[in-house]
Symmetry: C2
Subunit: 246 residues, 2 copies
DNA sequence: GAGTGGTCTAGACCACAAT
DNA sequence: TTGTGGTCTAGACCACTCC
């Protein structure tokens, strides 16, 4: 079992300690950035890049496969690899659990329970759950505080079939989000962000002055092919914004 | 050059046409979902999974590497592979170019130019560009329409050094976004979403009734290590929301 | 049929962590 | 020293597209 004359390289190849596949990725990204290859242009084949860099095709394949996963290029079997559409100038807003977000800022999070009830859904609500009138739901209204200041009223309807112990949770300790994540694996989310003047009860619970708008997040989550929960989250515009960067 | 007794498999292996690495990924994701492995648990090593599935270690490596890239597991060299933290319930909002968004709905997009000017930045504005007072800026105010209804006032400041031809563009044909994307490769974005009552001039340009709030998006883009543009986008709350799903 | 990407192998050498 | 992941090779077979 000798032979095996070839290197097999393994560890690192040339240049500093940068892996070959990463060098190839950088080379291609640079080419795209510098305008050498424009949107829609074909970039060299795996075989060609392998010769150019003196590496095996598998190494080039990994580089290109990762670039494709990152949406920098498109690959078509039997055809070639092409520079992908310029990254749309999009802004990704990540909306996290309110408690995690507050704690992430190093602040204190607290929560008070305004209402906890169970009921059978009237038709209007049932529709939001893709279900018939009469489906069993839980309803909670909570107020979240950051350093003792109200920052969110969370008005949530929960599918009782998916979270039967919902009403027995202590939401001053762990948020409805956290509980639902534990018992019902998240399958999908849809949401809507609006600006809206709050109704009087919300305005009072958030201690807002009249005329001040709210930033409102509607969020529907799905689990096991059903709607798990429908939530409306009201935030006083003067105390809460969605922010981020990338 | 004979020998090569072994299979080399290549194309597909067992089961339907599902690649081995994908079968392994599915197996591990199922295990996590079913609760067999919990957050923080170690999953089998590459060698063990290779034996279990009858595949080479490289194949297992690809499966686990991709799971790590997808944040389903964490890998530590010399230690092992562990189930990652449950995905926080986050909502990703993608905010795209307004023109693309409107056209994507199959509607008509139009744009009117309210103001185009160049000026030297006073201190307050220069600060937003991480620059000294006097930096040369362009300023544009545009109104965007969806099917002849006002949906956005875009108030934008642009770094003249990065987009020298900004004022010569025809923004009724192509948006500032689109022009900036062409001339200045996007490096980073930061943003803020607020609910706010509009000042009188904005309110009139959007034909809003008094007291109605706006959904406001502030966005700063960077290019070539500099701030490229600072924009404020005002949307009438009754006609515009951010939405999405995943 | 020629060219392209998609997958896989059976080894190899390396870096790193724990023992 | 052992066991883990990180990278790489030089082949291989396959599916797909285009000519």
């Amino acid at each position: 079992m000798r032979t095996k004359g070839k290197t097999a390289n393994g560890g690192r190849s040339r240049k500093n300690g940068v892996p070959s596949f990463q060098q190839i990725k950088n080379h291609i990204l640079q080419g795209i950035h510098a305008g050498e290859w424009k949107e829609g242009d074909q970039i060299p084949t795996e075989a060609a890049l392998g010769r150019q860099f003196g590496v095996a095709r598998m190494t080039v394949n990994r580089a290109l496969r990762e670039l494709a996963a990152e949406q920098s290029v498109n690959r078509i079997q039997g055809v070639g690899t092409y520079v992908a559409q310029q990254k749309y100038q999009s802004t990704l807003v990540a909306i996290r659990s309110i408690a995690g977000e507050v704690r992430g800022r190093g602040h204190n999070h607290a929560c008070s329970v305004v209402l906890l009830e169970k009921l059978q859904a009237p038709a209007s609500l049932a529709q939001q759950f893709d279900a018939r009138r009469g489906i069993r739901l839980f309803h909670s209204i909570l107020v979240h505080y950051e350093n003792a200041i109200q920052i969110q009223v969370e008005d949530r309807w929960v599918n009782a079939a998916l979270a039967p112990d919902y009403l027995r949770q202590d939401f001053t300790q762990s948020t409805p989000n956290e509980y639902l994540m534990r018992v019902a694996p998240l399958q999908g989310v849809s949401y809507r962000i609006e600006a809206k003047l709050p109704p009087a009860d919300i305005r009072k619970r958030l201690a807002m002055r009249a005329g001040e708008p709210c930033l409102v997040l509607y969020r529907t989550t799905r689990s096991r092919e059903k709607v798990a929960s429908v939530a409306t989250m009201w935030h006083p515009a003067s105390r809460y914004q969605f922010t981020g960067s990338f």
